[in-house]
Symmetry: C2
DNA sequence: CGGTGAGACTAGAGCGCTCTAGTTTCCTGG
DNA sequence: CCAGGAAACTAGAGCGCTCTAGTCTCACCG
């Protein structure tokens, strides 16, 4: 089957010649705009098929002076970003826009990713959980529309789409309270992005449930190790029957440490995570957690990006879209053991 | 700071004018080829800086009739692919090539990813663990150079870069034998890609160690659940002190089930996984496993892709590069408990 | 039956680069 | 003092598309 590989690229002119029409007509047909008779359309398509013609994307973009491309900066190793990217692909489908991916990793920082995307003349940038300095993001937003996803940026000039972390934390507490728990502890994420919001949500929920006196806050972190360390603090001191953790990893570490001490989860200790990471769905963990709505986040982000790309600069004032999270009940929460 | 956003794109001509030279000279400077005096070079660079000029990538690619772009198809949710992509970015750095990412996900299949990459006129395609039919891949390889990574494709016309699964399985067994284990069981991956190789490696190692009579093969799978199920078979029947599992997830499930039964790992049962997935490095799992060398795989893949992109078609015969894996010792393996 | 206008189609000028084939400048050696 | 040649620089034709401003055809209407 080693046929004529790499034929001297088939271009529009070739198709035009074979179909016996002008190049412009081929363009019309391929863009699907009016201006060609059905018969001709058919003929052109046939010719294109015969020659295995595919329009050159680069040239298209160059020609019409819009790239119709939206750049997405995402963390290669960040599993939730993967979900967001997938959702973005789905959302972009019907819009006529294209996605260009710029990956971020320990060995490749966001500036690099942004730069290469800029070189391809994206019309807008969607930054997933950017760690860039606020000023850097705003500077970027001076050059092209920027949408920040999954990071709170209070009082900024860029668009933000994020999950309601405050509400999510509240949901976790309410779920536990609903099961009958009263002494509910929060293991927080210290200074991690979102940690403050979740802490506040926890607090507000406890207050509203009349459990203010039971409020107990423990410094945690983002990793399993943080969770394990926090277990010491949780399990000593006043007895607690339930914990909401900053995220799933922290929760998993906590659970592992608790079980190591012979504590049964959820019988003796209920735990709610946050993020619905892959780890939460592992059957050996089966963590009850708060899930973010990737589709909604992606859809909103794309909507904003397009709106700005199409609007004349600075016509729209920056908006913040807050998406509600969802409680996913698995097997780490149960009614408290009768004493 | 809402300055003049979206300035009517600054082009090469603008830079040329400001520097008082021809467009061609600007091109020379930006391509870094000889033909400009240091003084001029300096002047042009300054002008470019003043205008915040960045060459339009699309136009560059169109102009020189080579895209110098290598397409990479990867699975968004496949964590090892993330590592490979990162390594590819590192490898591509110094080559003057660029990477274009095409993501694959449950809702976006490989054909889609390949198609969009093709539209950007990549010069070669690197497919990470493709699930495409063999025929589809070979057909693709008729159109442009294709390198398949992390999938064995015996007797094919495309280049393949993969890890030595046979050797990896052998390493796992030898590690266990070195610790003093003799009754070593293998929980396999049934028909999963790579499973057969690993099974064979296990077998060969057992034979070479004179442990053929201890050989015990149990049907497993790729998931945690498969591992949990396999635990039943492993723990009933003839006593086993060590297990090599098809992959880390299967191993983790096995360990969880074993611990659930009160069996101590590694004291009573040593377990070796395979792949060095994220889950293996979790402190609550800390799985001894076999790691693939992402850098080597990426480097080789890129090398092949470039070689083919540069060579005249079909000059090179297809090659298969097999990269040795590496044993990562964590805390699920130890010497067998004295009886 | 000439005028009109919609529909089908084309010529050709970009888009922002690259690159070949020059032209100009200036040094060097005979 | 000039031939020769390298180095510095420029003109202009692409690359493969899009899109504006046409031209041509032909049905339809007053």
């Amino acid at each position: 089957m080693k046929s004529d590989r790499r034929p001297p690229n088939v271009t529009m002119a070739d198709v035009a010649e074979r179909a016996g029409v002008s190049r412009a007509l081929v363009s019309i047909v391929f863009r699907g705009v009016p201006g060609a008779s059905p018969a001709t359309r058919q003929r052109v398509m046939q010719a294109a098929q015969d020659l295995a013609y595919r329009p050159d994307q680069r040239a298209r973009l160059l020609g019409r002076n819009r790239s119709r491309t939206i750049g997405v900066v995402f963390g290669l190793h960040h599993e939730f970003h993967a979900e967001l990217v997938e959702a973005l692909y789905r959302s972009v489908e019907a819009t006529g826009y294209d996605l260009a991916l710029g990956a971020t990793a320990p060995s490749r920082d966001e500036r690099r990713a942004v730069k290469s995307l800029l070189d391809y003349r994206c019309e807008a940038l969607v930054l997933l959980g950017p760690t860039l300095r606020r000023a850097a993001i705003e500077e970027l937003a001076d050059r092209l529309p920027v949408v920040v996803v999954a990071r709170a940026m209070p009082r900024t000039s860029v668009d933000v789409v994020r999950t309601d972390d405050f509400g999510g934390a509240r949901m976790a507490v309410e779920h536990l309270a609903g099961l009958g728990h009263t002494s509910i502890t929060h293991v927080d994420g210290r200074r991690a992005p979102g940690a403050a919001e979740r802490r506040r949500g926890y607090h507000a929920a406890m207050r509203d449930l009349g459990l203010l006196s039971e409020t107990r806050l423990i410094a945690g972190g983002l990793t399993e190790n943080d969770g394990e360390r926090a277990a010491d603090d949780v399990l000593t001191g006043p007895p607690t029957t339930a914990v909401t953790a900053f995220n799933d990893h922290c929760a998993a570490g906590l659970i592992a440490a608790a079980r190591m001490r012979g504590l049964r989860v959820p019988a003796a200790l209920s735990v709610v995570g946050n993020d619905n990471s892959h780890i939460a769905s592992l059957t050996s963990v089966a963590l009850t957690t708060i899930a973010q709505d990737a589709s909604a986040l992606a859809g909103s982000a794309l909507g904003l990006a397009r709106a700005r790309a199409e609007a004349s600069p600075d016509k729209l004032s920056p908006s913040e879209i807050v998406v509600p999270p969802r409680l996913v009940v698995r097997h780490t929460t149960a009614a408290p053991q009768p004493p």
